[in-house]
Amino acid sequence: MNRTTINIAEYSFEYDESRGIITNSYGKNVSADVEKISNCEFSVLVDGKSFHIFFSTTQNSPNATVNNFIFEIQKETFRDKLNKKLHKESVNNNSITLRAPMPGLVTKILLLEGTAVNAGDGVLIIEAMKMENEIKSLHSGTIKKIFVQEKQTVEKNDQLFTIE
């Protein structure tokens, strides 16, 4: 099966690679006049309307930029869908892991593993571009694990701590 589902915001498309056909969620074929300007820049004419589209792969997933708004492009092959379905049943949903919202330096860890927290409590501080940002727990519970240490640099989306 060479079919891929491509989701962009609330729109969903099916791409049949072997036939080179894209269909929308109503099963209708879509087409456009696509002209590549550079690897990341495209001019697209859809029914005569002109769009200037940029692509990047920040945060490890492909993104498209239109009018300075960034849209994540979610791709799912048939196999991905199957894996997701199987995986879902084995995931333990009692613990929540918070990830770094930005790259930066962990300057202070305010609470220890095993401490009880309420939603809104600050757990650690990340400094980036000279601003201190207090990273708060979004949930009440116990800090099960802290993945980082003070003075450690983190990238965006690195695991910070798990609340159970």
């Binding site: 729109y11 498309f13 859809v46 940029f54 498209a64 300075n68 201190e132 207090e134």
Partner: protein
């Protein structure tokens, strides 16, 4: 004083480029300095000479006075322009420059010391009958003192850094329970940003407008003002959209606030360009906030409206020249707006967005000015301020400046990081911005995450180009395709 022939620009990014431009127009040679990351930044490419600071952290580069003075000696400059941020408001930097026998393009070290510490500034001005916001005139020493002061002036209060501005080290506190944590956080931030952890307390004025007056003062005692800028659109106490003039000021109020600013400059013996910041409440009472003893980020809107190049005036004043115009000569011409373009996540609390700029095409056209310090390939890192460019529009009327800004924001194309452009667009379309009645709580009151909606046609444009991107790119690295290309190339070589 002699004519300046060569200037070292002790800064980076857009302001280094901005200073270079005015200096070149005056026939002055320019010297850039750069950290490891900035080796190919626009200011290095544009300036006549450039020297490495060797390092990445601000403390080992743009804040390192010894390295900067030693480069200035090596390059044989007459003067140093500090720009804004970094060392611009450090009196010991101004002193180091003059002690080294060079001209510091800014006020005297003593003036920076008095005005730069907001507490001594408040002290000086309260004696001169200048209206100031209730609060401490001295840095607070203990939590007990802070609690006592807060109780006297009443919550909400604002904790502010004595050593600098820009929202760093600033915290609003609504109750005594929040006080200890807020003070510690503010001290840490202040210490990192300004190497000075002293903080003071001010009454928090509810719903004011931020109005600041631009002044120019020469060494002969002539002081004039170039009207106001309104900078009430702020997030995290940092300005994002500014305009000149403000809708809130009548000619009478402008003249009154302008005269107060001139009086403040005279009281402090001020020389060079400076900005006096005020809060203006709903009843048109204004309170002195602080003096910025340097060029401001938002100075271009004043330049557009008053037709005066503030950087050139700074240089002329530093050369000892008199102002070439009087208060009566300066006239308002139209309206200007500035949108600051920060590398920040417009849809996620303005968190820093780092990355490499892969496409950059700023807006152009009549009445549009772009002051930027980036190019394709620039790395936006977590080490420096996230502001990457300033977009300024100038129109005959406020409406025209607004329409131009909407057009120019839509035209601006930048890829590789998220920016505040969608946020600025949201501001420009907001009825409260359009009617001019907004205050410094605009973002808190109205900030809705910019609506990243696309229509069906846009989604088709994305999916079709995405699929064609995926289909053309992998083919180049596909083994079969490569073999074909390689063999053709080899065959051609053999034939030659």
């Amino acid at each position: 004083m002699p004519k300046i022939k060569k200037i070292l620009i002790a800064n980076r990014g857009e302001i280094a480029v901005r200073i270079h431009r005015s200096a070149k127009e005056m026939g002055i040679q320019t010297v850039a300095i750069f950290s490891d990351i900035d080796r190919t930044s626009p200011h290095v490419l544009l300036c006549d000479e450039a020297y490495p600071l060797n390092g990445v952290l601000s403390s080992e580069t743009y804040l390192n006075i010894d390295k900067i003075i030693s480069i200035a000696h090596k390059a044989k400059v007459d003067a140093i322009h500090p720009g804004y941020g970094f060392l611009s408001e450090k009196e010991f930097f101004a002193k180091s420059v003059t002690d080294a026998g060079m001209i510091f393009i800014g006020p005297k070290s003593e003036t920076i010391e008095i005005l730069g510490s907001k507490t001594t500034a408040r002290d000086l001005l309260s004696k001169k009958n200048i209206p100031i916001v209730p609060g401490t005139t001295n840095p607070i020493d203990s939590l007990e003192e802070a609690t006592k002061v807060a109780a006297e002036i009443g919550f909400p209060i604002l904790i502010k850094a004595s050593g600098g501005g820009g929202g760093k080290g600033m915290r609003r506190v609504d109750s005594s329970a929040e006080l200890p944590n807020a003070i510690e956080r503010a001290r840490n931030e202040a210490s990192k940003a300004f190497s000075d952890d002293r903080v003071y307390i001010e009454k928090y004025i509810v719903n004011p407008k931020h109005i600041e007056i631009q002044i120019l003062a020469d060494s002969k005692g002539n002081v004039i003002h170039l009207g106001e800028r309104e900078c009430s659109i702020q997030r995290r106490h940092q300005k994002v959209v500014e305009e000149c003039p403000s809708t809130a000021l009548t000619p009478e109020l402008r003249s009154k606030m302008g005269q107060t600013a001139v009086d403040i400059a005279k009281a402090a013996g001020y020389i060079n360009a400076g900005t006096i910041e005020f809060l203006l409440d709903a009843n048109k009472n204004f309170y002195f906030l602080e003096v910025n003893t340097r060029v401001q980020v938002e100075h271009p809107i004043t330049e557009m409206v008053y037709g005066i190049d503030i950087i050139k005036e700074q240089i002329r004043i530093a050369e000892g020249k008199s102002l070439s115009f009087t208060q009566n000569d300066v006239k308002i011409n139209g309206h200007a707006i500035e949108s600051r373009i920060y590398a920040e996540e417009y849809d996620n609390n303005f968190l820093p967005s780092t990355g490499t700029i892969t496409h950059y095409q700023p807006s152009e056209g009549l009445g549009v000015r772009n002051d930027s310090g980036i190019r394709v390939g620039s790395e936006i890192t977590m080490y420096y301020d996230p502001m990457i460019a300033k977009l300024i529009t100038h129109g005959r009327t406020r409406d025209e400046a607004i329409e131009k800004m909407k057009r120019a924001l839509r035209e601006y194309k930048i890829n590789g990081v998220k920016t505040t452009i969608p946020f600025c667009e949201m501001v420009l379309f907001h009825p409260e911005f359009i009617n001019g009645n907004y205050d410094i709580n605009f973002v808190a009151k109205h900030y809705l995450v910019p609506d990243a909606k696309i229509n069906a046609q846009e989604s088709i444009a994305i999916v079709t180009s995405f699929v064609s991107q995926k289909n053309t790119l992998p083919k180049l690295s596909d083994d079969k395709t490569l073999t074909v290309i390689n063999s053709k190339w080899k065959n051609q070589l053999r034939n030659e």
